[in-house]
Symmetry: C2
Subunit: 156 residues, 2 copies
DNA sequence: ATCCTGAGTCCGAACTTCCTACTCAGGGGT
DNA sequence: ACCCCTGAGTAGGAAGTTCGGACTCAGGAT
């Protein structure tokens, strides 16, 4: 069972491609979304997503393997011990990915009930949004943001 | 050829799921990444990604269909007219998605050559980063950001 | 001892992706 | 006019994934 993700597009020098190696398979990001919604158990994931159990077992395995989720034993009142899956710090660092997808979907594929999730400063309850900012915190308009080659670029 | 994307997880009330319907298939986000890198032509995409031509044709078609790319005719010196694929405004709005994946990959799956792309204010060249901010522009630490149900949540 | 349940595994059918070969629309060369 | 060339596909079969249902296994409950 070598598991061997397919090395998409040979370009492992790209951090987007490296992220997609972990997160880019069907269902993976929806599993992560459910984890952010507080689901932890195998049956919670199958019930909320309708994913086949073998695929779920496989995806949970790779997410654990890559440190997005961790397995943790739990025991329910009068049940035997089982494992649940909780977001690690690396998993919680996917919040911007979730927020970016959600913002794009809200803007460009709206449904009747548009934003289902908002972000806030957990301490104060102030609303928060994912934006590009300068180092000093000035919010930039997305249209003004450009890219430039970083230090890790191949010097070809 | 009904094209019928699989309605992942029945939950179309989720903007993440709706985004993934367009963007979640294998190769799609790498094609978008290449589009941000300035590629526009069929052969540029096959050359840089190594994707099979039939899959590329299919993905470009759905990206056009959903308004992420648009087809535009071009004519090279002494060649016949062909079509190229350029990001629409909706496509350019995927920059936060790209940046979020890139940041996660840089942090959690680093390679020797870590950040290959940086973001900047296109006018001034000041560095920019994708962060959660309050309405007034105070940058929040990711660990302090939480979620709350938005107005579009099912009132169940 | 037997039943029950959550969490899997197994397996064959259905669907995707991959790879190679073919097509098609012009433009250029002769 | 005819043939060759190239970019951009399409076609078709092999290989790889996903799906859904049946099976397993480890306890605890009865």
């Amino acid at each position: 069972m070598p598991h061997m993700t397919a090395l998409l597009g040979k370009d492992l020098n790209c951090s987007i491609a490296r992220s997609l190696e972990v997160l880019g398979e069907k269902w993976t990001l929806l599993i992560v979304r459910e984890a952010f919604r507080g689901r932890t158990r195998f049956s919670e994931f199958t019930d909320s997503l309708g994913i086949a159990r073998d695929i779920l077992a496989n995806r949970l395995g790779t997410l654990v393997e890559y440190g997005v989720l961790s397995r943790r034993p739990y025991r329910e009142e009068g049940e035997r011990e089982r494992e649940e899956y909780v977001l690690t710090p690396a998993g919680r660092d996917l919040l911007p990915v979730m927020a970016a997808f959600a913002a794009w979907g809200d803007r460009h594929r709206p449904s009747e009930s548009s934003p289902t999730v908002l972000y806030e400063n957990a301490g104060s309850g102030e609303l928060a949004e994912l934006r590009f900012t300068t180092a000093e915190g000035r919010i930039l308009d997305l249209a003004d943001v450009g890219t430039r080659p970083g230090p890790g670029t191949d010097p070809v």
